[in-house]
């Protein structure tokens, strides 16, 4: 690999796989959608359609007699798969229990594993996350862990049997994009499972960059749900992910310090 300082420069041209495959499930869309933060279920429904997403996250919370079931109905109508998360869990124990309850509730053994270590930044707790991942993999779950951008932790999660890794670009909902593109590219090199950028996406270019860095997919929640026009942003993200996926496969030009004429001087007229 080129001894490069510029993560994208390592985006060697690779055949653009037509489908994303996680734990044997093939998906045409490379955009995962979070369902939180939308102004209404109607807007959520429209945004799912606009995004083309096939996999969306849901949380598990105490039954609210006032609003029951309709979320699952909306997702069923949209024809998307449900990916339960363990949002709000601060220990491996709570996360594992929540995953098991989600399996009961949604009849899926997939789980987006979150073990939070800090209230202000909602950053993951590395040792607890690894512990929970190991336990859930042993218990037969398809584990997609929300992790920080540490390449070593990502590799250990993959080695533990996680079906994918979901490193952050920056804190959840911060909209700060990818703070350390270099680490994302190292994670891409470090693991063989799919890499899904999770958290921090603020706008379309963040998603495009993530794909160019070698991510296999991008997860967007607040960036779409809390945009002024969520449905339009869903379309933007869909195009952004496709753009970045195509660009990586197309093999970008190298970065150069100096210019390279796009119009040769050969045959230039002399008017002197």
């Amino acid at each position: 690999m080129p001894d490069s300082l510029s993560p994208q420069l390592d985006a060697a041209s690779t055949p653009a796989a037509e489908t994303l495959s996680i734990a044997g499930r093939a998906m045409r869309s490379r955009l995962l959608l979070g369902t939180g933060g939308f102004p209404s279920l109607e807007v959520l429904s429209e945004a799912i359609a606009a995004s083309g997403s096939e996999l969306v996250t849901v949380a598990l919370r105490r039954v609210d007699p006032r609003a029951r079931g309709s979320l699952l109905d909306v997702l069923a109508e949209a024809g998307v798969e449900v990916l339960p998360n363990t949002a709000g869990c601060h220990t491996a124990r709570d996360a594992v229990l929540t995953a098991r309850l989600a399996r009961e509730a949604f009849a899926t053994d997939w789980v987006k594993l979150e073990v939070i270590g800090d209230e202000d930044t909602l950053l993951p707790d590395a040792p607890e996350l690894l512990r929970a991942a190991e336990e859930l993999v042993d218990d037969g779950f398809v584990v997609l862990p929300y992790t920080n951008d540490d390449p070593v932790l990502a590799r250990r999660l993959a080695d533990a049997g996680c079906a994918a890794v979901m490193p952050l670009g920056s804190p959840i909902g911060s909209g700060m994009g990818i703070r350390n593109p270099y680490n994302l590219s190292l994670i891409r090199d470090a693991v063989d499972v799919p890499v899904i950028l999770d958290a921090g996406v603020g706008t379309a270019s963040d998603a495009t960059l993530a794909m160019e860095l070698g991510c296999d997919a991008v997860m967007a929640a607040s960036a779409i749900a809390r945009a002024e026009d969520p449905v339009r942003m869903a379309r933007a993200m869909r195009a952004a992910v496709e753009a970045g996926h195509l660009a990586r496969a197309a093999g970008r030009i190298p970065r150069r310090r100096y210019a390279t004429a796009s119009t040769p001087d050969a045959g230039l007229a002399d008017f002197t």
Binding site: V63, A87, E114
Partner: protein, 67 residues
């Protein structure tokens, strides 16, 4: 006294999980629901048979927009 979703309830010891769900207006076919008692999962298949002990802490959970 049995705690249901973090609040004291009039559920009485010896009642089944299924009965508790009825309290909440949920029947056994309710989609997207899961139950934990004292920090352990109670599988759907055991909702009828599982009897709540004195001071049981019951969590009845379902899908919410998130993440």
């Amino acid at each position: 006294m049995i705690v249901l979703n973090g609040q004291s309830s009039d559920v009485r010891p010896g009642e089944s999980v299924a009965a508790v769900l009825l309290h909440l207006g949920l029947d056994e076919e309710a989609r997207g629901v899961a139950v934990a008692v004292d920090g352990e999962v109670v599988p759907r298949a055991a909702w009828d048979s599982f009897r709540l002990a004195e001071d049981a802490r019951v969590e009845v959970l379902s899908a919410m927009q998130g993440g």
